[in-house]
Symmetry: C2
Subunit: 203 residues, 2 copies
């Protein structure tokens, strides 16, 4: 369960018109600090200030080229956090105190049982688990078979998923909703594993 503070910080980051305009500008492509300052009519120092807040909640990425720094949107988190809050509010009831068994062992056991239950002997997916935790196990298992860093067209993704289940549209959407897959324009890419894990800590 994501901490209150993180959700609040996230909303604080978005609770400022200048930062929101920054994000909108960045949605059209990366920009340097100076360029942002120019377009927003603010000083470079102010850009740094806001960039720090956005970075703190992983909403922007930065890369250095020569002595300029290019800012860009982190699409993962833009989508991921958005639903984290509704989860916080809608899914409270399902919280349970944890038992004595070590977490890692318990997770591994669950993972094996879920894969056994939801995958056929031929390696096809029977159906998508409805419980979030189980769903993530299945999605992760499938996503692992995608090559990290490689770009896929939508068709390629569909064909990939079809190997396991006919309803590729739903599963593709689940991949994106749960941050296993990332879509930019018409191109899909597997998110790095650390993103999967970061996302999980949010929910």
């Amino acid at each position: 369960m994501m901490q209150l503070d993180k959700i609040v910080s996230y909303h604080k980051a978005l609770a400022d018109p200048t930062r929101m305009r920054m994000l909108i500008l960045l949605s059209e492509g990366e920009l340097t600090g100076l360029a942002l300052a120019g377009k927003l009519c603010i000083s470079p120092a102010t850009v740094t200030h806001h960039a720090a807040k956005l970075r703190a909640v992983s909403l922007v990425n930065e890369r250095r080229e020569k002595n300029a720094i290019y800012f860009s949107l982190n699409h993962y988190f833009l989508q991921a956090y958005a639903s984290a809050m509704s989860q916080l509010i809608n899914q409270r009831a399902s919280e349970e105190p944890n038992e004595n068994e070590p977490m890692d062992e318990k997770n591994e056991r669950l993972k094996q049982s879920v894969l056994k239950n939801f995958m056929t002997a031929e390696g096809k997916l029977k159906h998508i688990p409805s419980q979030l935790k189980k769903k993530r196990i299945v999605l992760e298992y499938l996503a692992e078979k995608l090559e990290p860093g490689k770009s896929y067209t939508e068709k390629e993704i569909n064909r990939f998923i079809e190997q396991f289940h006919p309803d590729y549209a739903t599963i593709r959407r689940e991949f994106i909703m749960h941050a296993y897959l990332f879509r930019e324009q018409e191109i899909y890419e597997r998110n790095p594993r650390e993103m999967w894990e970061k996302w999980e800590t949010l929910s």
Copy 2:
């Protein structure tokens, strides 16, 4: 297109730990101002202050009973606003200057052509349009056939959708994502038409 200010105000409303805790408390049911003050360890005046902010962005409802006021969550907006921002940022590119033709005529013409293109002669849905505007037309057309105010189980919703398309899971999700349908616990309900329209103005 939703105004920047509204999105910012919405995030401001959620950018405070006390208000977030209020929402979490209210997610378990309605409470009076005094009850909230007690549970949150703050003065009644502070509750009023925060309630005003949450009300300003339609996140809470109020009802009077005797001389107490009961606050409750507005689930519609909790879900609706959340994705409005990603839309703001992801769909900018598709904006176009509008032509001379009156808006209403244009919309009606689009609606007819979309329904003709995506529905079979037998009244089944061929597939879900990928363009947002067209998708909304199809979803609205289907949602109109649900009875407002009536509660449906998930199974009933599935059977309803299956009349039109086998992939009820996807369509059910789309209904919820686009605020045509509202889920509380395991029960589904059609949102009132005004909610559909309010939601559309957000995107």
